[in-house]
């Protein structure tokens, strides 16, 4: 009993409060998103998404208690085993899984389905943390780097096979963890630059402008920098590579991306080009959020989300309900809560004594950040439409439980951070 009281006091309550706030707000919004005035069902009605979400929330409490009770050493010890199991399940999904909404990502147990990919996130996070935390693991070691990329690559590929590109892309967020743990920033910078150039290429119709800008920049760098042969040749090679990337954009767009993905990118650049076709989601989502004004239309008063103008309004596009019914104030509160969560988790990660726990903490923050940034970004037209949920807000048991487990393992590890020193 003493131990129980102990751990209760050591839990990071600020994080838990933020979690609770997000989950409860999420539940209200799911009710609002599916609310139909003419039917007037209650929030608790189990035939509604909000009613079922309440069950998922209740189940989360059980899961949280389980996580707290289990010995903290379990998570590090069984990380690889769990990783193996989840890989097996991910292989199984395309074979025996059931198809929901075009994605074959569900494993059915009776009438109840779960998405292994949602759980793959925290299990991979554990595995990544364990690998980084291994004694003698060096971030600047190429072999270690390859092992890490293999670790995140495996589930990514398997999830891609389920055609769930969004969830697969979440695994790229581990780059932040690698960066924090000492991997050369080169990779991150190159990645961000490539994405930046890619989008710039799409935004600027005539690529000659881009090429011109690069050549001018190159000339300026050569003229005003040290005129060493090596520096100049590096700059020239770099410029040629960048221009090559620009030229490849068309190829990537037309040949690598699938038609619906191409359209999502096109919709990002110019949603007005076909507001009824591929621009529909983004256009309607922006209309819903944009019509909210400063204070919003009021709880259950939204028209765009309720009348199905916005697709997927209780899952991927749940933020539209917040934007429409609560306006900028509500959006501000939600963004602020997420900011608080992210910064708090960084704070927690930084105070960990073990590299495993810290790396895990950064995995948590990276995954949350990726979901937060991509999901809200797509609803307001800053990112292409990538179907991933907004943590704690989007309707769905698997997602809620996945995020809950992800967060609460960190809280559990954090509660025992003092013990790590004792063990050493």
């Amino acid at each position: 009993m003493r131990k129980g009281v102990d751990i209760y006091g050591k839990l990071d309550w600020p994080t838990i409060f933020i979690y609770m706030a997000l989950v409860i707000l999420g539940w209200f919004n799911i009710y609002a998103a599916v609310y139909d005035e003419t039917v007037s069902q209650s929030m608790w009605d189990l035939s509604l998404n909000s009613g079922r979400q309440l069950i998922f929330i209740a189940a989360s409490i059980v899961i949280i208690m389980g996580i707290i009770i289990i010995d903290m050493r379990f998570y590090e010890a069984f990380a690889y085993v769990a990783f193996g199991i989840i890989l097996f399940l991910l292989i199984l999904v395309p074979i025996v899984g059931k198809e929901v909404g075009g994605n074959k990502a569900w494993l059915g147990i009776g009438s109840f389905g779960v998405q292994p990919s949602e759980f793959a996130k925290f299990i991979t996070a554990l595995a990544v943390a364990k690998m980084i935390g291994t004694v003698g693991f060096r971030m600047d070691n190429l072999r270690n780097q390859l092992m890490l990329f293999g670790l995140i690559g495996l589930p990514m590929v398997l999830i891609l096979l389920q055609k769930d590109t969004g969830t697969a892309l979440v695994f790229t967020s581990f780059i932040f963890v690698f960066f924090r743990e000492g991997m050369s920033p080169f990779l991150m910078v190159v990645g961000i630059c490539a994405a930046f150039i890619f989008i710039l290429t799409l935004l600027i119709p005539n690529q000659l402008y881009l090429h011109g800008a690069i050549i001018i920049a190159l000339a300026l760098l050569i003229i005003f920098g040290k005129k060493k042969i090596k520096r100049i040749s590096v700059l020239v090679v770099g410029a040629v590579i960048v221009m090559g990337v620009i030229e490849s954009v068309d190829y990537v767009i037309t040949d690598v991306l699938k038609p619906h993905q191409q359209n999502r990118v096109k919709a990002l650049i110019n949603p007005d080009a076909d507001p009824l076709g591929y621009g529909w989601n983004v256009t309607q989502s922006k209309i819903a959020i944009g019509s909210g004004g400063f204070f919003g239309k009021g709880f259950l008063k939204g028209t765009q989300t309720k009348f199905d103008f916005v697709p997927e309004q209780s899952t991927d596009f749940i933020f539209c309900t917040i934007g429409e019914e609560w306006g900028w104030m509500g959006s501000f509160v939600v963004v602020a809560l997420f900011m608080a969560l992210l910064l708090r988790v960084i704070f927690i990660a930084e105070r960990q004594k073990s590299r495993f726990a810290r790396a895990y903490g950064y995995s948590v923050v990276s995954i949350f950040f990726f979901h937060f940034a991509i999901n809200i970004g797509m609803t307001i037209g800053l990112f292409p439409v990538i179907g991933i949920p907004l943590p704690f807000f989007s309707y769905g048991g698997s997602a809620l439980w996945g995020f809950t487990v992800l967060l609460f393992i960190l809280i559990k590890l954090d509660a025992h951070r003092g013990q790590v020193l004792q063990r050493l």
């Binding site: 209309i287 028209t303 997420f338 900011m339």
Partner: protein
């Protein structure tokens, strides 16, 4: 080695959050576009077209009513899985027609894939019944019900006018901004003149709807909704049975019949020959029918009773007589020799008094009467004397309602022409003119132009012994009675006492004069005057004005039949048949009716 990396990540996260908040602020607070788009998404503005007012005849028989007609609108973004083969089958269209409909729809200026756009217009009740059950198979189709005009008879088309879609020019001229493209508006006749009373007021309902266009209740509990107000019903002064009879009589002839109730100025019938079936200018085939009718060389759309300006002929002699009596230049017993050397005459008479001159329609008599009027010797200069006399004469003649618009409640009324000094100065290019130049106006020929309704009104004036009410077709707007100007008595400049002489003379015309063969009725004293208007090289126009009964007259008629010869034949027959029909209900002279229907007046 990893110094500052935490801060870099923190900065990335915070920047992302800030970028989101700024972007959200810009689309939610700064940009109103989205709120408007949301409204147009979810708020359906449903127009409720009012019922156009009905039109009844003077005996409360329904003449014009509304039947539903249906426009099929399309919201293109709502079209899903469009089965064009099925659609063609249901709507009985060919593939090419369907393609054309889509092209037309997209070509419309107001076309938007978000909003209902007109796709198929003016389905009749029967056509709509056929497609109604299939409509839900085609998401994106919406029905807009409104009404079109229908007519209980084929009569009265010219007076009623027609209703059609408001034209571009009309929209531009419409300062009130009441009309929207696609609205209907009265284009002629009563429909146009009483448009304001007939149209009613449109209602608007704001409804919430979801993305599939399914209604989700009213917007703000209907606070912004307005109810449509139906147009006012009109009670026409027309006797539709008499009108139909008149149209039957005018069949195959060009001309007009106007019958007026003298005591009120109410028009009992307004026949324009040839006419058209008003049902042709309603519904879907409006456009093609309109082209056919308006290209017809007989000009059925030309409302002759109001628009055809004719020389009045001998009926004008009554007005001359009244004017001369008022001016004191003749007395009833003044005799003037029938000197046929200046102006021709007909019949066997030589030296009549006024009544006899009217009875025999003596041309030289009235030549003499006009000479006395125009040359009264006020001035020694015969030219100046004529000018003074003509202005006096013109004033009196105009007081009968000749020479300017009567103010009938129909558009496009013509005023005719009664020449005055200024007119002849212009006509003679300021060269001098005197009585001998202009004497043909004495017998209703020459420069005089009169429209048939003025002739009927003139008959009414004589029937009333000196006054009239402006002729009008609508005796009551709803329950309100006629427009105020139709309640004002109009007086001529002639002493009422002189009219008894005219009445006596007109009685004698029918009793024993030019009208005795075809205008005389058994039980009713008809007072009339024939006119035969020269129309070289074609046959003369046949003219007759009449009223009956002599005392307390109930009906005044003018009949003008183009190219039909003597007034005593076609026009006198038709006028008397109209009087008989109105006063008795049917003719007791089938041979006269048959004579008119045969239409062989020239022999």
């Amino acid at each position: 080695m990893n110094e500052g990396r935490k801060e870099i990540l923190q900065i990335i996260f915070i920047l992302t959050g800030l970028v989101f908040l700024v972007k959200l602020f810009s689309i939610q607070v700064l940009d109103n576009k989205y709120a408007e788009l949301a409204d147009s998404n979810a708020i359906l503005r449903e127009v409720e077209y009012p019922f156009r007012g009905l039109i009844y005849d003077r005996n409360n028989k329904l003449v014009v009513y509304n039947t539903p007609e249906f426009d099929i609108n399309v919201i293109r973004k709502d079209i899903k899985d469009f089965d064009s083969a099925k659609f063609c089958e249901v709507f009985q269209l060919s593939r090419t027609e369907l393609r054309k409909k889509f092209q037309e729809m997209r070509a419309r200026k107001e076309y938007s894939p978000y909003k209902p756009t007109l796709f198929i217009d003016r389905l009749s009740n029967a056509e709509f019944a056929r497609v109604q059950d299939h409509l839900d198979e085609f998401p994106g189709l919406y029905v807009q019900a409104r009404t079109t005009r229908s007519y209980t008879t084929t009569a009265l088309a010219n007076a009623l006018g027609y209703v059609s879609e408001v034209s571009k020019g009309q929209l531009e001229r419409d300062k009130t901004k009441i009309y929207k493209q696609g609205d209907y508006i009265g284009q002629s006749g009563i429909e146009s003149f009483y448009e304001e009373q007939l149209r009613g007021k449109r209602g608007v309902k704001f409804k919430l709807r979801n993305v599939r266009g399914i209604e989700k209740g009213s917007f703000k509990d209907g606070d912004y909704d307005t109810l449509s107000v139906p147009g006012k019903d009109l009670i026409s002064s027309i006797d539709i049975d008499l009108q139909q009879y008149g149209e039957l009589l005018m069949k195959g002839k060009s001309g007009s019949i106007v019958a007026i109730e003298p005591g009120s100025g109410e028009i009992l019938s307004l026949v324009s020959g040839p006419s058209y079936d008003p049902n042709l200018l309603t519904g879907r085939n409006y456009s093609s029918n309109f082209v056919l009718i308006s290209n017809d060389t007989l000009k059925p759309l030309f409302t002759r009773p109001l628009m055809a300006q004719y020389r009045p002929g001998s009926i004008f002699k009554i007005a001359q007589a009244m004017t001369a009596l008022q001016e004191g230049v003749i007395k009833p017993d003044t005799r003037i020799r029938c000197d046929r050397s200046i102006i021709g005459c007909h019949g066997n008479h030589s030296n009549e008094d006024l009544r006899g001159a009217i009875e025999n329609s003596c041309n030289p008599y009235f030549h003499g009467v006009l000479r006395r009027m125009l040359n009264k010797g006020i001035s020694d200069d015969p030219y100046e004397d004529t000018r003074i006399g003509l202005e006096e004469w013109n004033k009196h003649i105009r007081s009968f309602g000749f020479g300017s618009n009567l103010g009938v409640d129909l558009p496009n009324e013509k005023g005719g022409l009664i020449p005055n000094v200024a007119y002849y100065d212009r006509a003679y290019n300021n060269r001098p003119w005197k009585f001998s130049n202009i004497y043909s106006i004495a017998i209703g020929e020459g420069e005089n132009l009169v429209v048939p309704i003025q002739m009927a009104n003139f008959a009414a004036i004589v029937a009333n012994r000196g006054f009239y009410y402006k002729p009008h077709l609508i005796k009551s707007i709803g329950e309100e009675g006629p427009l105020p100007q139709y309640k004002e008595k109009q007086f001529t400049t002639i002493d009422p006492a002189y009219f008894d002489i005219a009445v006596d003379a007109m009685e004698r015309v029918v009793e024993s004069g030019t009208g005795q063969y075809r205008a005389k009725l058994q039980d009713i004293i008809v007072c009339g005057k024939t006119g035969t208007v020269q129309n070289d090289p074609l046959p003369d126009h046949s003219v007759f004005i009449a009223f009956a009964p002599k005392d307390n007259p109930k009906i005044a008629v003018s009949v003008y039949v183009e190219d039909a010869g003597q007034g005593a034949r076609a026009a006198a027959s038709i006028a008397s048949l109209m009087i008989e029909k109105y006063l008795i209900g049917q003719t007791k002279r089938p041979h006269i009716e048959q004579y008119v229907l045969n239409g062989q007046f020239l022999y």
